[in-house]
């Protein structure tokens, strides 16, 4: 059962943020050190991004976040840089899976009108996102059960360590 309340500030982006922008091929091929990659997140479109992030912050984007390459370094470097979750109108599917597999929260919701620097509280159990400044509440699309199970274990590594393979339904929780 996911019983997590997350709090952090928003960093806004537009449509079609691709994984090359999240972490450029210039860096990702050289190392498995995610802390090093975390310093270069979003560098090609916002050179100061990594310095602006405080641990626990969120990225808010429009549609097709994480399109392009399958590089798992993208969600891992975002986590290493301090980003805890992504809210977007839609995700590219490989990024979406990679994010959940790494334990990076990825929620599909209506991000219209959201601004940078706003403090949000996310209730993962209920899929509710509260704007702590404005007070308005958004509901995220529910995740497939298996993704909830993977997030509950803290990611796919822990999930496979525990179950050895994929199970149709582990927990009885559902939302």
């Amino acid at each position: 059962m996911i019983l997590m309340i997350l709090k952090g500030k928003t960093h806004c982006f537009g449509n079609d943020i691709n994984t090359d922008y999240i972490i450029s091929g210039r860096y990702k091929f050289k190392t498995l050190d995610m802390n090093e990659l975390g310093k270069h997140v979003m560098e090609d479109i916002d050179p100061d991004f990594a310095r602006k992030v405080a641990p626990g912050d969120f990225i808010v984007a429009w549609k097709n976040f994480g399109c392009g390459s399958s590089r798992e370094q993208a969600p891992r470097a975002l986590l290493a840089c301090g980003i805890r979750g992504i809210l977007a109108k839609s995700f590219a599917r490989i990024f979406f899976r990679n994010a959940i597999n790494c334990g990076l929260v990825a929620l599909e919701c209506n991000t219209e009108g959201m601004e940078s620097g706003v403090e949000l509280e996310i209730n993962l159990t209920e899929g509710k996102i509260v704007n702590l400044q404005g007070g308005n509440v958004i509901t995220a699309s529910p995740l497939p059960d298996i993704m909830i199970d993977i997030l509950n274990e803290g990611g796919l590594i822990e999930y496979i360590k525990k179950y050895g393979s994929f199970q149709k339904r582990v927990s009885s929780s559902s939302r």
Partner: protein, 418 residues
Amino acid sequence: MGKTISEKIFSTKAGSPVQAGDLVIAQVDMAMGQDGTTPLAIRSFEDMGGKSVFDPSRIIFIIDHNAPSPLEAVSHLHDLMRQFATQYGVRLFDVGCGVCHELMMAQGLVVPGDLVIGADSHTCTYGAIGAFSTGVGSTELAAVMISGKLWFKVPETIRVILNGTLPRGVFSKDIILYLAGQIGADGATYQAVEFSGPVIDRMEMDERFTISNMAVEIGAKAGLMAPDYKTLAWLKNRARRPYQSVYPDPDAMYQSTRTFDCSGLVPHVALPHRVDTVKPVDEVADVPIREAFLGTCTNGRAVDIEIAARILRGKVVHPDVRFIIAPASREIFLTALEKGWVETIVTAGGVFVSPGCGPCVGTHQGVPGDEWNVISTANRNFKGRMGNNKAAIYLASPATVAASALAGKISDPRKYLG
């Protein structure tokens, strides 16, 4: 109710009849990793406590993205892959063999009806031979290496029917660029695409691969084509396993059907920095070019090198342009040598680099300079993609790229094709 190709393959691999929207745990036929993603998969495998792989003959590692290694750090990661491959009996294609997607098909490792995952987004290329193949991340590759299984949501399918006759000087790359412009970079997200129609029927396999390869650029999970006599002939001396071709039922349920007439199509170019910002070549003609690149999993095949040789024969590449060619495999390179295409292109001023991904991934073998315009046969033109965020990348067919290399500016290849 009839089924799509995707629904049929997932029904077989999940062991029970399924339809779009169902969540399944399915047996994977082949799992592939390249040098940009496999080192992280190996780390995840170890972190998962992996002690053995489910079936070493169904796992393939390929060193193509940074090959040969441009850096000591990369050499260490390559060695990590080699050590793992030796320890677990996994087949590894080393530096110089070629691009992962070309090898998976040309070496007969993938057959129609397969369910294939690869830690590379362009794994969707194998849809052109009727396999459901899709990209995954490193940790999912590790999970498959251990268990042989992965969970999927059976996708809905968009049917794309290509009617008419493709005009002279217009190629499959022009079709998929045009479709990207029409459908959009996220137009098929979470969905499969089935391509069909007389234009596909008339295409050779190499041309079909270009279309399925770029299915992911419209967000698709897979870009499928039903096998026909050309597919079977192509597989004849390649396939390493018996297979059962899968065809869609006539009454299959599609999310939507989109029909395009290709008879009036002209060469198209994708403008920086988006694959779906596409214009007819005439509208961008005269954009000066500093680098031209022919290669990649999209367009590094024999037919692609052949058309460039036809355009360059007896001519000289523009002095302001570096024209770089990366054959998609050693076999293709050897064919190009044997046919004299390499001599033609090198004499004209072209530069061949080793079979592999070449400069597409932005780490070596042709990183552009500041303010350079590059014209490339690749599938992506994101800002910074080729290693310099101050360069601008245009995507086009091999013919348009070769014509532009000659002219020093974006050019309509039809002027050069007699």
